[in-house]
């Protein structure tokens, strides 16, 4: 049947308004429902359009047929005068449940039709979606680009544990620690008190920068009081060895030259680190290790370690990048360089404490 015929044959004698959506398709809408939209209402009253198919009201570009269908559902419900507030609220709450994309389309469409109650409803729903999310999460949800410059991000630095390089380092350590722990299980070592390192930050820095003088003063770290209150801490606290100094205690280091390869080293997560490591007493004096060979080392182990070191040394490049020059030259100027151990950085330091302990116990 042609639509014109249908219009004639309709038994209820209802009035219909003709509207055309942006894709060209034309449809009929019950008059009272259509009039609920202020924009349509105005079009009818001011221009007389909508009375027939040829004079269908053109809906704004943002209103596609699917969305229009939703809007009609909304209007159809709410234009009925007898409904209670509770009913309306319940309807709204159910109505609003849809994916974010559709919600955005609906908000835009409702706005172009000037349907304020629906705009408010959808806007509030979007606001609730936004609340509590980080900018990254919001970007994900709404498919938005990350195009702000550093300048524009006046937001202060996030907690430094987010730094990907720190995470990378921690993964490295986690794997190394696991390996060393395995080795440690094979051994039984005595505990001995270690001497505390007394040197200041300055000394440490000058030492690193190649100024001789303090090699004889190198002492090993002391770690006392391994009171672990954490049940999940599986580390053995008490294995500390005194005067041994490990040389080049390298296990197979993942090829550090390649970012990608290192990334594959997925050891314990960073959170694991903070949990396991903050239980350790960290000596404020930075740990020093002597470069001398340790006599207490198992010769076989020592040999293995020597081999690993050589291996690693071979793999290293001998180029000095500018940054290295910078560091060295700074050292020569005797300018102090800060040691920055941040959130996970200090975790790393403590890792080191444990690492050293573990190494020592071999």
């Amino acid at each position: 049947m042609s639509e014109a015929a249908m219009a004639v044959v309709k038994p209820e004698m209802k009035s219909y308004i003709w509207v055309q959506t942006v894709d060209g398709s034309i449809q009929q809408v019950e008059e009272e429902v259509a009039m609920f939209c202020p924009m349509i209402c105005r079009e009818i009253l001011q221009t007389g359009m909508g009375s027939s198919k040829n004079y269908a009201i053109s809906l704004p570009q943002r209103v596609n047929p699917a969305i229009f269908g939703l809007i009609l559902d909304y209007c159809r419900f709410h234009q009925v005068p007898g409904r209670s507030n509770k009913e309306r609220k319940t309807f709204d709450e159910k109505f609003i449940r849809m994916d974010t994309k559709k919600l955005c389309e609906l908000t835009s469409a409702a706005d172009s039709l000037q349907l304020k109650p629906l705009v408010d409803l959808t806007s509030r729903a979007l606001a609730r979606i936004i609340e509590g999310k980080t900018p990254e999460e919001i970007r994900e949800t709404f498919h938005l680009p990350d195009d702000l410059t550093e300048e524009e991000k006046l937001e202060p630095l996030r907690n430094i544990t987010d730094d990907p390089r720190i995470r990378l380092l921690n993964r490295l350590y986690a794997r190394k620690r696991k390996e060393l722990k395995e080795r440690q299980k094979l051994k039984n070592v005595e505990v001995e008190e270690e001497r505390v390192d007394e040197r200041s930050v300055d000394d440490l820095l000058s030492f690193i920068n190649g100024v001789d003088g303090d090699t004889k003063g190198a002492r090993t770290n002391k770690n006392k009081k391994k009171n672990r209150r954490r049940k999940d801490n599986s580390r053995d606290p008490s294995s500390i060895n005194a005067n041994e100094n490990l040389n080049k205690g390298l296990s197979a280091l993942p090829p550090v030259c390649h970012n990608g390869a290192v990334d594959n080293v997925l050891g314990a997560s960073t959170s694991n680190h903070s949990r396991n490591l903050t239980a350790v007493n960290f000596s404020p004096k930075l740990e020093f290790v002597d470069g001398d060979v340790d006599d207490d080392l198992d010769p076989a182990m020592k040999e293995e370690l020597d081999r690993e070191v050589e291996d690693f040394a071979r793999r290293l490049n001998s180029d000095w990048p500018e940054r290295m020059q910078e560091i060295l030259s700074l050292g020569q100027e005797r300018r102090l360089i800060p040691i920055s151990m941040n959130g996970n950085g200090s975790t790393v330091a403590i890792v080191i404490g444990v690492e050293v302990i573990v190494i020592r116990s071999l």
Partner: protein, 659 residues
């Protein structure tokens, strides 16, 4: 893999944002992308600036052109304990001047611990056409003359001269002037400010046409105000909901003052002492009953037992009671408190004693906040029977207790552990054992375990103040468990840098740290330099941080202001290893501040403090990269115990990795 953004027109987005209120969410929105940043900044109406030196007025105005409400905080919290010398800063005038031209439609100004002059108050009074709320919390620098200016101009009347016949909203038709009333002041709150009280007549400056007052707090004023002017003012303001009078208002006048304010929700009485007069008593009780919305009572200066029962008829309505000026003895306080079954907040002097707190625990099951202040903090011996037992009692009896400020003279680990176990929902715990370094009185041990239990069990703890004998161990606990901790106050605690290191490295959400008289030095501070950029501020006084370390920190961290406060004279005149008197470090994007007094020095690098944002950003990112690279080098060295050459080679590879 290009994603198509869900498109929402700008006006619609702005409408969506209008339903997002919290600063955190608004900040998140502005960091999403360029277009959201732009839209958000134009529709941001409410700004909170926790440190007035973290950003400049110019930057604020440039970024947020349509602000209607601003909150600014100035001096560090320890200023409350006289640790910040006079003249340190926190001046509001640059802000007020900038906003007077940039934000003509500003409605609300809230300042805390700032210095504001009468001139600024006058400027406020004259510049903002729609001004509604002025809150000056713990501020100073102004007098009642400034208040008079606010009062006189609070109606923001516009005058049209000439003969006008048909003008809407005509109030007074004088010969050649017609006043047109616009929106008026709603709230004037001077809580705990230091006002130069020149006269009480400023209240008369409120014009007779002024009727819009909703909240008035003059409790900090020392001298008498004109009671008749006050009476007239209150009488013509039907919407008055909150009124806090000062001590000088006598009790017998209270009835007249609030007689015509039936909508009062909060009332702060004046002096609550008078000769025994039964009619005054019954009038008072009557007036209390007449204020059917009354929920909060404060004031009660010098409260005498005779008049306390006037409150009984409304005691079940009360949710907040501030008796911290009520120097009455325990039994009367106890009786009053026991009547208030729905009490949520109680501030009281330690006259309440343990027995009173037992009664509180038994009666007030809805209690959320308890503050017990010392009646005689400088006495050597306890003057009241208030011990840790009272707090334990309350922690047992009040399941909703989440905020505590408690002054006492003895504490034990056992008590703290019990409190922690009882109240894992605690969010603010401030314990002040009056004598520094007081150990557990039962075992004579440090209170590490007790506070450790607090941070361990109270997982949502946001604010913590420590006291008593404490070693580095307590900081280890705090660093381990205090993951939600935002503010920490420490005094006379710890043994070494380790303590500070634990806190700075472990407390992920730390925003404010204030330390006094602790043996914290350079190492922990330098090792955690980057952490400082994630915090609002760090205060350290009478600690062991050397001038050299401060200089280093200032040089390397351009986005921090490292300010040394030293009243002994320039730190240059002493050896670099000499500890500084006081240190205040805060993150900022505004560079060095221009109003530093002679005893404050900013530590800065060669480039000086006034970097442009770009330079700062570059430097910061370089520094950050640099510090990351450096620390990686160091850790590697320590782990692998290489000899220096090998180590440096290893480092070079890592550096290239990072570059």
């Amino acid at each position: 893999m290009q994603r198509i953004a869900f498109s929402i027109p700008e006006e619609v987005l702005e409408h969506v944002f209008s339903f997002v209120h919290s600063d955190k969410d608004r900040n998140a929105i502005s960091l999403v992308c360029k277009s959201w940043y732009e839209i958000e900044r134009w529709c941001r109406r409410r700004i909170f600036i926790g440190n007035c030196y973290a950003v400049s007025p110019r930057m604020l105005i440039k970024r947020f052109p349509e602000v209607r409400s601003i909150t600014l905080k100035g001096k560090p919290h320890f200023a409350d304990f006289n640790l910040v010398p006079e003249g340190w800063g926190g001046y509001a005038c640059t802000w007020i001047e900038a906003m007077a031209t940039a934000y003509p439609w500003l409605e609300e100004i809230r300042l805390k611990r700032m210095v504001i002059t009468d001139d600024s108050l006058e400027l406020i009074a004259k510049s903002f056409k729609n001004f509604q709320v002025l809150v000056l919390s713990s501020c100073e620098g102004f007098s009642t003359d400034g208040l008079a200016a606010i009062a006189a101009n609070c109606s923001n009347n516009s005058y049209i001269s000439g003969t006008c016949a048909a003008v809407p909203i005509v109030l007074f038709a004088a010969d050649f002037q017609v006043k047109i009333e616009s929106v008026n002041l709603r709230e004037l709150d001077l809580r705990e400010s230091e006002v130069d009280d020149l006269s009480g007549h400023w209240l008369s400056q409120f014009p007779d046409s002024f009727t819009s007052l909703v909240s008035l707090n003059i409790s900090c004023l020392g001298s008498e105000v004109s009671l008749s002017a006050l009476e007239r003012l209150l009488g013509r303001c039907p919407n008055l909901q909150s009124l806090r009078l000062n001590r000088a208002v006598p009790l017998d006048r209270l009835v007249n003052l609030i007689g015509r304010s039936p909508n009062l929700v909060e009332l702060g009485t004046g002096t609550y002492s008078s000769e025994v007069q039964p009619d005054v008593f019954s009038d008072l009780a009557g007036v209390f009953v007449g204020c059917k919305q009354l929920k909060s009572l404060s004031g009660f200066w010098d409260a005498v037992p005779y008049y306390l029962p006037a409150v009984y008829p409304i005691s079940s309505r009360l949710t907040s009671l501030n008796l911290s000026y009520a120097t009455t003895e325990s039994p009367y306080l106890v009786k009053l408190v026991s009547e208030c079954q729905n009490l949520q907040r109680l501030w009281v002097l330690d006259y309440i004693e343990d027995s009173g707190l037992d009664a509180l625990a038994a009666s007030c099951k809805d209690l959320r906040e308890l503050r017990v202040f010392p009646s005689d903090p400088f006495g050597l011996e306890p003057n009241v029977a208030l011990t840790e037992k009272g707090l334990v009692s309350v922690s047992e009896g009040c399941p909703k207790l989440q905020s505590v400020l408690y002054f006492c003279r003895q504490m034990s680990n056992a008590a703290l552990v019990t409190i922690a176990r009882n109240r894992p929902n605690m969010t603010r715990f401030r314990l002040c054992i009056i004598e520094p370094r007081t150990p557990d009185y039962l075992t004579l041990e440090p209170l590490d375990a007790g506070f450790g239990a607090i941070v361990e069990h109270c997982k949502d703890l946001q604010r913590l103040s420590l006291s008593g004998l404490l070693t580095d161990r307590v900081f280890e606990y705090i660093g381990t468990y205090g993951k939600k901790l935002e503010m920490l106050s420490v005094a006379f605690a710890g043994d070494s840098d380790l303590g500070l290191h634990y806190v700075l490295s472990g407390c992920d959400n730390l925003r404010k740290l204030e330390v006094r008289d602790c043996p914290f030095g350079d190492k922990a501070l330098l090792a955690n330099a980057a952490k400082l950029e994630t915090m609002r501020s760090l205060w350290m006084s009478s600690c062991a941080v050397s001038y050299g370390a401060c200089k280093l920190l200032g040089q390397k961290m351009p986005r921090l202001n490292v300010e040394v406060i030293d009243e002994r004279g320039p730190p240059d005149s002493r050896p670099e290893s000499c500890p500084v008197e006081k240190l205040y470090i805060y993150r900022t994007i505004a560079g060095r501040r221009m109003d530093m007094p002679g005893f404050v020095w900013r530590m800065e690098g060669a480039s000086g403090g006034n970097c442009q944002w770009q330079v700062q950003a570059q430097e910061a990112s370089r520094t950050k990269k640099f510090t990351v690279a450096w620390h990686i080098q160091l850790q590697l060295w320590l782990v692998f115990e290489l000899d220096v050459i090998l180590f440096l080679k290893l480092v070079s590879t890592f550096c290239r990795l990072l570059a």
